[in-house]
Symmetry: C2
Subunit: 364 residues, 2 copies
């Protein structure tokens, strides 16, 4: 038998359920391109790709394709909504044995609180192309500044941010990322973000949060072999500091042939912009596979030679960091011996941060 | 025109290619169950599952199913082969947005060198069920002790280790894991290993390598709700220390009802075995979603009450660790706010290690 009190409770609960369902249904979606985009080298034809198609045309085919992926791009906005949802359309289904779907195809939401960027939650991709997810709900309704990182190893054809119907959503009045201070990172899959657990843990993104600078991810998986066309492009990208972490993929012979003219071209066109040269991470299997180990040692010997030659010639504003200083010495910082886990990315960000601050300070 | 020297070089190279091809083809496979298995609570009907089917019968259906997954089980062997390959048959294809395929369905190879376990390489799963991969090659041919961790979120029906035809492969004469010192960890998806980048980075595996103890992974994703049947089973598992990290999934009410009788039952049957109680990791989205935040706070309040009650009753050998001490305070240690990345797992292992050593020392 139901008492009157119980009946009232049931009625109130049903009403609350209805209100909740109503709130769920009244979500207003806003196109992400109407908000603020950061992590972009320049404007591009399709706004969620990294290099404009016309500018990418002279580059190697693999780089042209990878430049369409959204690694390092993030959307900044402020809202007083207590719920944030997202709809995004991926260009294809991806399978990578060394990455989580959240990292290659998901979203990663941060909020600027107490003068710091703090993780909020992720947009988890389901199998398939069209995604729609609630990222967070039940927040207080104060106005906050948010940032959503886009997928690291996929392309986005459309992205919409959902908030409560009556909530404000707009570009931040005072963006917590200083887009006038720009660090441009050119590199391999590691720079692109393999194998962060989520988009915000790729090391350019960690550096961006820690410094407040706009850090541009020009990491190209399996590539970054220092072709002349890439040096020419990089020289056109507004930058206050270049990080060249492009030793993992070219052969020792390619590094010998290409690294000197590549850096000379960049220095020639941007004589006042500091450059940080990063040796390749020592692939963990190279501690066991003797052929792999020898190759890595030779790669780093070749870039060191180029650095010494540049220093001898009196090139200024060039910094160098050795492989031994990048990811610790416990051999635990990678998922597959090559690509860094969040542990490895945290360590490499710790290692690069002082160099970047030093380079930016001198440059300012 | 080819000089005689060049001709000789070509002939030698072709010969080397043939030898290499020959060596590739001459791999001898050994059934993993003929080697040494660690990380096992007890013997089981199918050797790569965690709980014997008959013993699992009274447990909740989800736990019975998860007990078939191979989390925490590893194979120990020694070989002088310069190449190690593996064939493994998975029970099914898995998609988890917060895990890498290497973690849920792959293999993770370590070698004992300079008195430490050092990462060698992983066995990357392709899509599908039947896997065959080269894990490492071109090693020197000294005899070494290896350990292969099995998949965290999949079951293995068959596992074979491949070495060169004439190489020795056998159980280690002196295993570098002391199977007489046993730590049994009961918990949720976090204990099971979500979201380590690879099987060896789940925290029970990290603790196993750091201590040399046999650490048993009884983590059950979405479960570990302290049912009586589980307490009864745990009491039958040979253990020198229990870690109860089972607060993430039961509701505050369930913790209130179940935690006291669960621990009392275990203490009653194993009065001399130390128990380490672990508060739940504070889910990162709980810093924003007020309902989630309140629930986590209440979960930890309830287990704290139980701990205080046990201490008041004079129960000895019980240790307690608070949520604030587990994964740091930068909010960066998870993939999805709940499940730990390698960064989070490294931190929680750092936090638990001194407690485990203290508990084991007193117990010895």
């Amino acid at each position: 038998m139901k008492t009157p009190a119980l009946k009232t409770l049931i009625a109130v609960n049903m009403l609350l359920l209805c209100v909740n369902a109503f709130a769920q249904n009244n979500i207003r979606y806003v196109k992400a391109e109407t908000l603020t985009l950061i992590g972009k080298a320049k404007k591009t034809d399709s706004c969620f790709q990294r290099i404009d198609s016309a500018e990418a045309a002279p580059m190697p085919m693999a780089v042209r394709s990878l430049a369409k992926q959204s690694a390092g791009i993030a959307v900044l906005f402020e809202t007083n909504s207590t719920t944030i949802r997202a709809k995004w359309k991926l260009s294809g289904e991806v399978y990578l044995s060394n990455m989580t779907p959240i990292a290659h195809s998901g979203l990663d939401l941060y909020c600027f609180r107490n003068n710091k960027w703090q993780y909020v939650n992720v947009g988890k991709p389901a199998k398939g192309i069209d995604q729609e997810q609630r990222i967070i709900e039940n927040m207080d309704n104060s106005t906050k500044q948010f940032m959503i990182y886009l997928p690291l190893y996929n392309s986005i054809n459309d992205l919409q941010i959902g908030v409560e119907e009556n909530a404000i959503i707009k570009s931040p009045a005072h963006a917590a990322v200083d887009t006038t201070l720009r660090v441009v990172v050119y590199g391999s899959s590691i720079v692109q973000g393999a194998s962060a657990s989520r988009p915000g843990m790729a090391y350019p993104a960690i550096l961006q949060r820690r410094t407040g600078y706009d850090v541009i991810n020009l990491g190209f998986s399996g590539n970054a072999k220092m072709e002349k066309e890439l040096a020419e492009y990089l020289a056109t990208v507004p930058a206050d500091c270049y990080v060249l972490d492009c030793i993992p993929n070219p052969s020792p012979e390619e590094i010998n042939e290409r690294s000197y003219p590549f850096i000379k071209l960049l220095c020639g066109k941007k004589p006042n912009t500091p450059i940080i040269l990063v040796e390749t991470v020592f692939r963990e299997n190279g501690n066991w596979d003797q052929k792999v180990g020898q190759r890595i040692t030779r790669q780093n010997e070749e870039i060191r030679k180029t650095y010494n030659r540049l220093i001898k010639e009196g090139v200024k504003n060039i910094y160098y960091i050795e492989t031994t200083k990048l990811i610790g010495n416990d051999h635990e910082a990678t998922v597959d011996g090559v690509h860094l886990s969040d542990l490895g990315f945290t360590r490499i960000a710790d290692a690069l941060l002082p160099l970047i601050e030093q380079a930016m300070k001198k440059h300012k």
